[in-house]
């Protein structure tokens, strides 16, 4: 929801980044305020996923210019774990499997590291158990998933639901969801979308990164951005997503090229 004069959660200015020396992000500008849901769409290789990883601080990506201010703080100066503790959450496109570490332990340690950072008391195993069981309902997950190793042997849909469960526990200020809809059947998609909607509040912000418009039928964005060649080339409302769905990405890219040529 767009709220006038609400707090700026994320402000990205002219951000550039490389991976192994190859420039991928070539000047991103974006502002997200509390309460808003943004979607970044774009063809494969446009830099969408790179953008999400740069925000989270993945070590493979090197920021070469620009700035990212998160709730008034220079995000790029923080280590990945501190970004997370401050409330930046990335739902992974391919959640990692962690054999031998139970989902419950993983969730508890993550939850407590965020609480500790907020100056709150860490929860012991018993109290945490109550919290996590209550949160399971957000993604309609069976409690048996808590006993299993993190994501090990989970289906694609279960992994994505597990990501949303983590988001539900960590209550981030900025949730970045990288291709969360990919590989989901329609039922799983509805559950995941429903979870995202439940977790969106007037105080936090959500950034959806997606190739398809499908997810946006269920999670309605306030803004849609089209990324191409490492930059955001156009921004519109939810109708833009519909248009992209029916006409593809080519026309936006051509319009942009014509505009640049005209300048």
């Amino acid at each position: 929801m767009i709220v006038e004069k609400s707090e700026v959660i994320l402000s990205v200015q002219n951000l550039t980044a490389t991976v192994e020396g190859t420039p991928i992000l070539k000047g991103i500008n974006l502002e997200i305020k509390a309460g808003e849901i943004h979607a970044i769409m774009g063809p494969n290789g446009s830099g969408k996923s790179t953008f999400s990883k740069v925000l989270a601080g993945h070590p493979d990506y090197e920021v070469t210019g620009g700035e990212v201010i998160f709730q008034g703080q220079n995000l790029l100066a923080l280590e990945p774990e501190d970004r997370a503790r401050n409330g930046v959450f990335l739902a992974f496109q391919y959640p990692l499997e962690i054999p031998g570490v139970s989902n419950l332990d993983f969730l508890r340690v993550a939850y407590n590291s965020r609480r500790k950072h907020q100056g709150l008391e860490e929860l012991d195993a018993f109290d945490f158990d109550d919290v996590v069981r209550e949160r399971l309902s957000v993604v309609k997950m069976n409690p048996s998933f808590l006993e299993r190793s993190v994501n090990e042997g989970f289906s694609g849909g279960e992994k994505k639901r597990n990501e949303i469960l983590q988001m539900a526990l960590l209550k981030p200020h900025l949730a970045v969801l990288d291709e969360t809809d990919s590989g989901l059947d329609i039922d799983a998609l509805k559950i995941v979308a429903d979870g995202i909607n439940q977790l969106a509040t007037p105080e936090n912000a959500t950034l959806l990164i997606t190739h398809y418009q499908r997810l946006l039928n269920y999670v309605v964005p306030d803004y849609v951005h089209v990324m191409e060649g490492g930059r955001i080339i156009t921004t519109g409302g939810k109708e833009l997503a519909m248009e992209l769905e029916s006409r593809g990405y080519e026309w936006v890219i051509e319009d942009e090229a014509a505009e640049v040529a005209a300048r």
Binding site: A56, G57, H58, P59, D60, E79, P80, E81, R83, A84, R85, F89, L90, F92, P95, L96, I98, P99, G100, V101, S102, D105, F106, V109, A110, S113, R114, H117, S149, Q166, L170
Partner: protein, 478 residues
């Protein structure tokens, strides 16, 4: 490997100090005279000298094994000091007479020996270089008929028992290092559990190499009579020298009818520096004989130290329905090399064995599992289950598995499972994106990986082992 992970794994070795104590050492080198001298210094019965000489003569004819998957420059056996003992240790009647410097040393190592501070439920035999300096709770154990003392003492007070069992599981000419040990061993622990006795406390031996030139050759013998049981734990550390020290031990276990021996090791010898300079060569022969029906021998080891580890704790399952177990975590970092595993030799009917091996390799280390499962012609209905898992940390480490399986009985069943996994940069990023530090991430993954083995350790040591592994890996991952 990222910098953050590197600093995390390369934690300094905290037991690397040298105790300044006057020692009674013999000159370097090995000869028949040296063997005789060691035996004389220890005032041994005649049979023991014969045993040593027989071993020495066999050793001269043997050559060092070259099949292990490790490399090191040739060892000059004439450069080693074969006997080194802290001075003024004539006849100790109580702990009060032990040199306070030694008590302090063990205290520093976390092994308090003094009356007030000792671990309440663990009896400890502390061995410093070549000799045992103290054994705690001896009197209390004696009330139950349990003998727990140094092997030198056992040779004085219980020569018949030693003569009956020493060399019965690992013969003098078994292998190169066992022969060397049989010739020159200086001390070790002796345990005897009488019939139908459950040893009332954990028994533990703590080995400390202090002298930079001396080798450590200890010999441990544990005998569990019919219907008895015992749990035994050994720990070891050494100072940091930039030369290598040789540690060639022999451990023999004998379990008679319905007896049970549980033998746990937490090995933390100095492993050398990050360029592979210094560290202990740990060439050890450990073997258990399940002589009686329904007997059981269980080896649990957590190997984190040593420049080179060459060690295969084994079980000879002779008694019908006897059982052998091997639970192992072997961690190598930097330039460490380990070639370790087990042998389960099924001879009797319905014998069972379980092998759970977890190898963790970080840095530029080499970590190999080598195991033999043999089902003899009479091993009707015998079963083995083996699981060998390797975990790689970083991209310069090596893991190998060499399983040997020999089956000579059609009714025997052997199962082998193996897996290799890797702690990758992406997994660590996943943890950090959830606010979990790299240290915690590695420690959670390692604990999870080793859970099956740690659960076998006596409680207080399981916690210690878990902590030890995390420490060893600090700075190594990424």
């Amino acid at each position: 490997m990222t910098a953050s992970v590197k600093t995390l794994v390369n934690q300094p070795y905290k037991y690397g100090f040298v105790t300044d104590i006057e020692s009674d050492a013999i000159p370097r080198g090995l000869s028949e005279d040296v063997v005789r001298l060691i035996s004389a210094k220890k005032n041994e019965p005649e049979f023991m000298l014969e045993f040593r000489l027989k071993a020495y003569r066999q050793w001269l004819k043997m050559t060092e094994p070259t099949w292990p998957h490790v490399t090191y420059p040739p060892i000059n056996y004439q450069e080693i000091v074969y006997y080194s003992a802290p001075k003024k240790q004539d006849k100790l009647n109580s702990l009060d007479e032990v040199d306070p410097t030694l008590l302090e040393t063990f205290e520093k190592l976390g092994i308090p020996l003094s009356e007030q501070k000792r671990l309440s439920n663990v009896a400890v035999d502390a061995i410093f270089d070549s000799v045992s300096v103290a054994t705690t709770f001896k009197e209390q154990l004696a009330k139950e008929g349990v003998i727990f003392c140094s092997i030198s003492e056992a040779l004085q007070h219980h020569p018949d028992l030693v003569q009956k069992y020493v060399g019965s599981v690992v013969p003098v000419g078994d292998n190169y290092y066992a022969a060397l040990n049989s010739a020159v061993f200086t001390d070790g622990s002796f345990v005897y559990i009488p019939k139908n006795t459950k040893c009332p406390m954990e028994l533990s031996t703590y080995f400390r190499i202090n002298n930079g030139e001396s080798g450590q050759f200890e010999r441990t013998l544990i005998v569990a009579e019919e219907g008895s049981s015992v749990s035994y734990l050994e720990g070891c550390t050494a100072p940091m020298f930039d030369t290598n020290q040789l540690h060639a031990a022999v451990v023999e276990l004998v379990a008679l009818d319905n007896a049970e021996i549980k033998y746990s090791t937490v090995q933390n010898w100095f492993a050398g520096d990050e360029n592979g300079k210094g560290g202990i060569y740990n060439f050890v022969t450990k073997r258990g004989l399940c002589a009686g029906i329904n007997s059981k021998i269980s080896w649990t080891q957590v190997e984190t130290g040593s420049a080179i580890t060459w060690k295969y704790p084994s079980c000879l399952l002779v008694g019908d329905n006897s059982a052998g177990e091997f639970y192992s975590v072997a961690l190598t970092n930097n330039m460490q090399q380990a070639d370790t595993g087990t042998k389960m030799v099924h001879i009797g009917k319905n014998t069972r064995s379980t092998i759970i091996s977890k190898g963790i390799s970080a840095g530029r280390s080499k970590n190999s599992y080598r195991g033999l499962v043999k089902m003899g012609p009479k091993a009707k209905g015998a079963r083995n289950y083996s699981q060998c898992d390797s975990m790689l940390i970083g991209s310069d480490a090596q893991a190998n598995t060499f399983p040997y399986i020999q089956v000579q009985n059609k009714t025997a069943r052997v199962e082998h499972e193996a897996s290799t996994s890797k702690i990758g940069e992406d997994q660590l990023f996943y943890f950090s994106q959830r606010g979990i530090s790299t240290e915690d991430a590695i420690s959670m993954m390692i604990s999870g990986f080793c859970q099956d083995v740690f659960s076998q350790l006596p409680m207080e040591f399981a916690v210690e082992a878990d902590r030890l592994l995390s420490l060893k890996l600090e700075g190594s991952v990424g």
